[in-house]
């Protein structure tokens, strides 16, 4: 620890940090633009100037940029020095010469870092009366608006987009007064993380396009701490609501999970909540028409289901509480998994590994610490995008080591990058298709899935001879050797796999991790196993291993079970059409609870409307076994209720959580995520509305001039009101970050124990799964026995960030980026079948139509299938398929939105 003096006060400081970081960590106000907590310093904006003194006798001092000066022991600085202050106000005055006076019509207004800093720096009168430079704006796709005139050239956008997130289509252009941040030409921003520009930009150059179509000021949004339901990472979000509709999602800081950034699925995928097709009333299907049900009718109907012969099918996209309520209602033995049987099988393998003491499931922050990574068979960018962003940081650990050797501080971002150039920590990808992480990969192997798994087993065997050998051709021996050496040499190696394509790859990944565990004298190895949905892990912890979906469908079909309750799930995505049809036809009564109509609700006798993630309080468990609490943001005006409320008599989420803890072995610690009594101060709740929330009394004046009573929230520690006391002691109740003088998201530093640290009130979630099984052993490799015939191709499922997730696919901004179902083929296989880019083809066995996408990076003999959103069901296909050119070529299907790096180009040019 170093001691530094700031304006005469002594502070303890970390000498590895710079002065700006330390000032902010101490809660002091020092303006800045180009510095960002997760991107380090470049010293571009000159806004954080302070006076530094040589010693106590030095009265003159020199101006230094706080962000470029180490917090060395004995440093004496002054923020309040008149010289420093006037320098800062002159800097901002010059940055602001061409900034338009458009705050009233700018979407950033009210949460603008530039507004805050301008005020803080004391620049309150514009002396510049010349003509301002103006720019043309670009169309950047459905997510982000562009308004270049507001730019103050801090370079944060390109530093995030290119340096941090690896995007290649946004750059700084031109020079001096004309510097322009944009694409080479108008078009969709290709990075999956483009939405973060909205929060990274200190002013309104990049704003949320979906939000601007339904805009509201930050202070007029009702917000609550929420968890993204887009994938299994469980990023923390703050969704905002106004006038009954959900308007936008912004990042909510969690030191362990998402830090400062979200992916675009998470940011723009919330809009399904506002979908006009939402199910909002209980409906009974009578002769193909819907009939509204009254309360007592619903009750009578549910009562019918409480008899014997009822089974329940859970959902990986529903909360723990709703899954538990269903399980409690039908009994554990009658509660079945809500995902495909293939996924169920791999989930069992995964759960077994989750309790193994040899492994650790790393959080996103821990993934960033890995110094050698092996991805086995998983397309991380599309399955768990936020983790792909973390992996892009992990490869920079090499650069950080080099910087340490050269004694360059880590926060010297540009210097560290210059030093390392293209020198990256090893990241090897062995998979069946080119992925969006390939540009930072040290080695890539494209092989069929069975070879991928075999290579994994082989790597394990080479690391530790105790691991079993696999049948693996010698073709990749060199790379295997290299990967083995890299993993062995690493201080913190990381193995990543997932269950998008069966369990054999997971077994192979586990063997590698176990071999490393043995090799490294029993030091715990990071093994990150990805699952697709927000609560895949939670639901699987509640489901008996002997209760896969297939067994439920069989029971219904053969009449052993008569009634079925389907919880927030479209079974047609989980099992083949024939099987689901047969089961639902055979069942005497089908009850479905969901938010949006699906093929399953269409076949239900009764459909009960369920609330969406922002309309109820719930807990979810992410890929690492981390339980997190998501608060209700707003009320659902119609009759939708949380599914558990339809199914059981519990009054309160807390009651169900308590029962989960007691009745589900894996969820014993779930209650730790609840806020308890702490947030209450003098009996006051935490308000969801800001202290500036406007127009409350007039909101419904068009209907009735009498001010309605504020909605009551009897369940939670939060209220639908402006009154109350902001959360003081529990960060899980901290929704919209705001501090005096800091209206923008940069105010978060006021809530962190230090910059980039944990939130002062703690609470990054609770790791539920206890590791106590030390008896784990290697898996025996299972080789793929099926040989394809002449016309057959090996099927691999491909996830897409936009479209593969069922709910976000009902969100308008996401729909603008989705593609139809397609088959990815190697140029060779396409030619063989006389198929060209964009052709429509049919695939066996169902003859479903798909678009052809020819990619250079696909191995001949493999067909990559993306199912689109409900175009076709993955459950209908497995193993080997045949692809044929369709007799009817429609133009209504397309893959125009697809962004891949290995698109077979000759075809599109012709």
């Amino acid at each position: 620890m170093a001691k530094i003096v700031i304006d005469g006060v002594e502070y303890e400081a970390n000498p590895d940090n710079n002065l700006l970081q330390e000032c902010l960590s101490q809660g002091l106000d020092l303006p800045y633009f180009c510095w960002h907590p997760s991107m380090g310093s470049v010293g571009a904006c000159r806004q954080c100037a302070v006076k530094q003194y040589r010693d106590a006798d030095d009265k003159e001092g020199t101006l230094v940029m706080a962000c470029m000066t180490p917090a060395a022991d004995g440093a004496i600085i002054s923020i309040e020095d008149e010289g420093a202050k006037s320098f800062r106000s002159e800097v901002i005055e010059s940055l602001m010469t061409s900034h338009p006076h458009d705050c009233p019509v700018c979407e950033e207004g009210g949460e603008c870092h530039l507004q805050d800093m301008t005020l803080m720096s004391g620049h309150n009168y514009r002396r510049y009366d010349k003509k301002k430079r103006t720019h043309r704006n670009q169309y950047l796709g459905p997510f982000v608006n562009h308004e270049m005139n507001r730019c103050i050239t801090c370079y944060r956008c390109v530093r995030f987009y290119g340096d941090y997130a690896g995007g290649t289509d946004l750059s700084a252009q031109a020079s001096h007064h004309h510097v322009y941040f944009g694409r080479h030409e108008e078009g969709v921003l290709e990075s999956e993380f483009s939405g973060n520009l909205v929060e990274v930009c200190p002013t309104g150059v990049f704003t949320d396009k979906a939000f601007s179509e339904n805009y509201s000021r930050k202070w007029d949004l009702q917000t609550a701490p929420s968890v993204c339901v887009g994938c299994s990472v469980g990023c923390n979000t703050s969704p905002g609501e106004r006038y009954g509709s959900l308007r936008r999602t912004v990042n909510r800081y969690n030191s362990e999970v998402n830090g400062y950034f979200l992916c675009d699925r998470g940011r723009f995928g919330f809009d399904f909540v506002n979908n006009s097709d939402r199910l909002l009333e209980p409906v009974q299907r009578v002769d193909n028409t819907g009939e509204l049900l009254a309360d007592d009718q619903v009750k009578a109907f549910i009562k019918e289901f409480k008899a014997d012969g009822t089974i329940g099918i859970g959902s990986p996209r529903a909360s723990n509480e709703s899954n538990f309520a269903l399980r409690a209602m039908v009994g554990e033995e009658n509660f079945y998994a809500g995902y495909s049987d293939v996924e169920h099988e791999s989930m069992q393998v995964l759960l077994g590994l989750a309790s193994d003491t040899a492994f650790h499931s790393p959080s996103v922050r821990e993934i960033e610490m890995a110094d050698a990574v092996l991805i086995l068979g998983e397309d991380v960018t599309n399955v768990a995008p936020r983790i792909a962003l973390a992996l892009r940081q992990s490869v920079r650990n090499k650069a950080k080591d080099l910087a340490d050797e050269s004694r360059i501080p880590q926060w010297q971002d540009s210097a560290v990058r210059e030093l390392a150039q293209h020198d990256l920590s090893p990241l090897s990808i062995i998979s069946s298709a080119v992925s969006r992480l390939d540009d930072v990969a040290s080695d890539k192997v494209i092989e069929s899935l069975s070879v991928v798994a075999a290579m994994g087993h082989q790597i394990a065997n080479k690391i530790s001879a105790s691991a079993p050998k696999a049948d693996c051709s010698a073709a990749h021996d060199q790379i295997i050797e290299k990967v083995v050496e890299q993993l062995k040499a690493a201080k913190r190696p990381l193995i990543i796999a997932g269950n998008s394509n069966g369990s054999e790859v997971i077994r192979a990944a586990a063997n590698i991790a176990r071999a490393l565990y043995n090799f490294k004298d029993n030091s715990v190895i990071d093994l990150c196993l990805l699952v697709p949905e927000v609560n895949s892990v939670g639901m699987s912890l509640m489901t008996n291993a002997k209760n896969p979906l297939g067994a439920a469908l069989k029971k219904l079909h053969d009449g052993t079970a008569k009634r079925v309750i389907v919880l927030e799930n479209d079974l047609y995505r989980r099992a083949s059409r024939a099987k689901v049809d047969a089961a639902l036809t055979a069942a005497t009564k089908v009850l479905v609870l969901d938010q949006l109509p699906t093929s399953t609700t269409a076949n239900a006798d009764v459909v009960l409307p369920a609330t969406a993630f922002s309309e109820h309080e719930a807990t979810y468990i992410n890929y690492e076994g981390r339980a997190q609490l998501s608060f209700q943001v707003h009320q659902c005006k119609k009759q939708a209720k949380p599914s558990w409320r339809w199914l059981c008599d519990a009054e309160h989420v807390d009651d169900l959580v308590e029962r989960c803890c007691n009745e589900v072995p894996g969820l014993v610690r779930l209650r730790e995520v609840l806020p308890g009594e702490n947030p209450f101060i003098a009996g006051m709740k935490v308000p969801r509305q800001s202290h500036r929330y406007s127009g409350r009394t007039a909101m419904t004046a068009n209907v009735n001039v009498h001010e309605p009573k504020q909605g009551e929230d009897k369940e939670s520690v939060m209220s639908f009101s402006m009154e109350g006391m902001p959360a003081q002691k529990d960060a899980s109740v901290h929704a919209a970050s705001w501090a005096p003088k800091w209206n923008s998201n940069q105010s978060i530093s006021k809530f962190q124990d230090e910059v980039n640290g944990e939130l002062k009130q703690g609470h990054p979630g609770c790791l539920l799964i206890e590791r106590k099984d030390s008896s784990g052993s290697y898996f025996k490799p299972v080789s793929d026995s099926i040989e394809p015939s002449e016309n057959q191709l090996r099927l691999v499922f491909s996830y897409q960030i936009f479209g593969s997730d069922e709910l976000s696919a009902r969100s308008k901004p996401i729909q603008a980026r989705m593609t139809d179902a397609y088959i990815g083929l190697s140029p060779k296989d396409a030619q063989k079948r006389d198929l060209r880019q964009g052709d429509v083809a049919t695939i066996s066995p169902l003859g479903s139509p798909v678009v052809i996408c020819i990619r250079r990076g696909i191995k001949a003999g493999t067909a990559l299938l993306h199912c689109g959103d409900g175009n076709i069901s993955p459950a209908d296909f497995s193993g080997l398929i045949e692809v044929e050119k369709s007799a009817t070529q429609t133009t209504s299907r397309g893959i125009g939105n697809l962004i891949v790096s290995d698109f077979h180009e000759e075809e599109i040019n012709s």
Binding site: S171, A174, Y180, G187, E190, Q421, G896, I899, V900, N909
Partner: protein
């Protein structure tokens, strides 16, 4: 680093000519990093084509396998990489301090009258483009300007006339 291709926006990149490729390949042997060759490649293409069109820029990006956005950043940073079509002769006219003292304003208005173009404009026949530059480093012979590779010093209206005449004759 490999470029991403969006299926829907397949803008056609120009195939670089054999001469351009030979020169770019030579430059590639001089730098450890392909990104560093970007500027040289732009200069080479400009030498052959007169300017750098969108198609040329994409062609270079594709050939070097670097992001077009990055190359655009380089191309637009330098004033003398022309991203718009210029005339056959580019007049780089110095309007900096020394030339100003020596009366470059009068010379400029003479050019303006003679060719009917202002800064940043090209004559209708496509022969001349007039661009201001801050200094050509020949202050003791001010006012000065460059036309193509040639430096013209101690300018007078008469000299301007003959320079323009010469350029036209050479072309014809």
């Amino acid at each position: 680093m490999s470029q991403q291709v969006i299926a829907s926006t397949a803008v056609k990149a120009r195939r670089l000519s054999a001469e351009e490729i030979v020169e770019i390949e030579h430059e590639m042997t001089l730098y450890p990093d392909k990104k560093a060759v970007g500027l040289e490649a732009l200069k080479i293409v400009q030498k052959h084509q007169g300017w750098v069109s969108d198609e040329s820029l994409l062609g270079i990006a594709k050939y070097l396998d670097i992001p077009a956005a990055d190359l655009e950043g380089v191309a637009t940073f330098f004033n003398l990489v022309y991203r718009q079509q210029v005339g056959k002769n580019v007049i780089l006219f110095c309007d900096s301090v020394s030339c100003w003292i020596m009366g470059c304003e009068g010379i400029k208005s003479h050019i303006k009258d003679k060719l009917a173009i202002d800064y940043g404009e090209t004559t209708e026949d496509g022969d001349f483009t007039l661009i201001p530059v801050p200094c050509l480093g020949d202050c003791d012979k001010a006012p000065v300007m460059m036309v193509g590779p040639d430096m013209h010093r101690n300018l007078t209206p008469e000299k301007i006339d003959s320079i323009i005449m010469d350029c036209k004759t050479i072309q014809d």
